[in-house]
């Protein structure tokens, strides 16, 4: 008995000191086999429900998916425009890089049986280019990150709600930075080291801040559910609920490759890669006067909005893009105005029903908040142009 106790104690100590890494490699192979074995009934269930599903339910599902697709495609149109504009504004501000990623879809094939840890097993591995540290995304928000690649077709991922997980976030409303620490409970994250004076409100959306270099910037993470200011405590306590439904996931996206795309050097209206600024087909209807009006938008709007310190340091690049160079890059512009203003609203109303349904929520919430800015800019620019 005592020998067993001493042996386990030694094992635990060695593991705690990270001395058992080679053993973990072997264990991971074996465990992967066990998990794939226990995944069989679920697959059988899936296959069964797909095969013997009623015609009617399939039709309904098809209908729903089509609606969702339409809605997302329409969203995508707007995103293209916003992305192009965003890239342009960034280049104005001499922001050096933009990170875009390629994603791989993965299925959750196993869940760690230990209720203390929030860890899942995925069916993607080295063969798919998966590496430790790659972030995991869901349709609603960030989910976690890869912590071990166990074989050619399997890997382990830690969810953001695990007590050992933390990620840098910032509040979408005002950019206040914080660290979202997992609590060990699925629906709860803590915000660590939040100053008592920080501007945090219940309902604030937390997006990943991109600091630390592991998670990309701007993915929704959680919504603040509770803020408490205790005069006796050094920091305010805040809780947030993850946007992604961490316990109802089957399929996730792994951000496999974070392409760091160097932006063109700052100058008068840099040309953008065609993929980014390819104008959606809707635009052919617009005339050239509208495009020139939107062209003026960034130049007019940026100093007004929030970039006072930036303007002070780098006033030359901001003023550089002067009007004479504009006509050469015209094809870029038309994107902004027509898409945002005209066709969006009616389509959004037509396809609105799927949003109300919990399962068909719009995947990416942040752009809704972002969309307020460009539309206001375009309107302000429009007024500016008409005024002039």
């Amino acid at each position: 008995m005592w020998s067993v106790i001493i042996l386990s104690g030694a094992l635990m100590f060695a593991d705690n000191q990270r001395q058992l890494e080679p053993a973990h490699q072997v264990i991971n192979y074996v465990v992967t086999a066990i998990y794939s074995f226990s995944h069989v009934p679920l697959e059988a269930l899936d296959w069964g429900s797909d095969t013997w599903a009623s015609h009617q339910s399939l039709l309904t599902e098809n209908q729903q998916l089509k609606q969702k697709l339409l809605f997302l495609a329409q969203k995508q149109l707007k995103f293209k425009a916003l992305e192009a504009e965003n890239l342009r504004l960034k280049s104005l501000l001499r922001a050096a890089m933009d990170v875009r990623g390629r994603v791989k879809m993965a299925e959750i094939v196993g869940i760690n049986p230990d209720p203390f840890t929030h860890e899942v097993l995925l069916n993607r591995g080295t063969a798919d280019g998966i590496r430790v540290g790659q972030p995991l995304l869901g349709s609603d928000g960030l989910i976690g990150q890869i912590i071990a690649v166990t074989s050619a077709h399997s890997s382990r991922a830690l969810l953001i709600s695990d007590a050992n997980h933390a990620l840098p976030v910032q509040i979408n409303r005002n950019g206040v930075r914080a660290i979202a620490v997992g609590s060990g409970h699925l629906g709860k994250l803590y915000l660590a080291y939040l100053p008592d004076s920080a501007d945090v409100k219940v309902g604030d959306l937390l997006v990943s801040s991109g600091l630390g270099g592991r998670f990309p910037f701007g993915y929704p993470v959680a919504t603040v559910t509770m803020v408490k200011h205790d005069p006796g405590a050094p920091f305010a306590t805040a809780e947030a609920r993850p946007k992604a439904l961490l316990d109802r996931l089957r399929h996730v996206l792994i951000l496999v490759h974070q392409d760091v795309v160097p932006l063109p050097p700052p100058g008068p209206w840099p040309t953008l890669p065609p993929a980014v600024c390819a104008p959606p087909p809707v635009i052919s209807a617009t005339n050239s006067t509208a495009t020139t009006s939107t062209l003026a938008a960034p130049v007019v709007a940026t100093p007004v909005s929030a970039t006072a310190p930036v303007q002070a340091t780098s006033s030359t690049p901001l003023t550089q893009p002067s009007v004479p160079t504009l006509p050469t890059k015209l094809p870029v512009k038309p994107v902004v105005k027509p898409v945002v203003v005209k066709p969006v609203k009616p389509v959004a109303e037509v396809t609105a029903p799927p949003i109300k349904n919990k399962e068909h929520k719009i995947p990416y919430q942040a752009p809704d908040d972002f969309s307020a800015q460009p539309s206001s800019e375009t309107s302000s620019s429009a007024t500016a142009v008409t005024g002039s």
Partner: protein, 164 residues
């Protein structure tokens, strides 16, 4: 001196452990995991009570290590706790035979509860969050509830030559 010599094939022991492992790793939503029976511990308890001279502390320790490997905690943690429980099972196994059914259930409940309590204690020392409230012990309750099923399934595999 054993009162009987068992000839239970090794295969049934091995297979029962495999099935328990399978049930443990079955993908279940995180919240339901709290209510999941401790399948591997129940296997240790069953064979510990039924075949105490074949299934002892060392076997329990190995099964615990298996559970450690499947999970992600420290290697040796479940092994240690399983070994402690197996020692208790060895001390109790003769008395257990004289108990009525409800008392057997109570013993199972206490042993699974003790296993969970020790695990929780060590986990809290290691810095993992400890669950609030008593719902953590749902697992003990469900373990007791599946115990009769386990006995019904495993008892046919026990073969003993009684000679005393």
């Amino acid at each position: 001196m054993p009162a009987s010599r068992d000839t239970t094939p090794f295969f049934s022991l091995f297979f029962s452990v495999l099935m328990a492992l399978f049930l443990t790793t079955l993908p279940i939503a995180k919240e339901w995991q709290w209510a999941q029976p401790q399948w591997l511990l129940l296997i240790v308890l069953y064979w510990g009570f039924m075949l105490p001279h074949r299934f002892g502390i060392l076997s329990a320790w190995i099964i615990g290590l298996l559970l450690d490997c499947v999970g992600s905690g420290l290697i040796g943690l479940h092994g240690l706790v399983m070994a402690i429980i197996a020692q208790l099972v060895y001390l109790l196994h003769i008395r257990m035979r004289t108990f009525p059914a409800w008392q057997k259930g109570a013993v199972i409940f206490v042993l699974v509860g003790l296993y969970q309590t020790i695990l929780r204690l060590i986990n809290s020392v290691l810095g993992y969050p400890t669950p609030e409230g008593l719902f953590y012990y749902l697992s003990s309750v469900s373990s007791v509830l599946v115990w009769p099923l386990l006995v019904w399934m495993l008892s046919p595999s026990i073969k003993k030559n009684r000679y005393s």
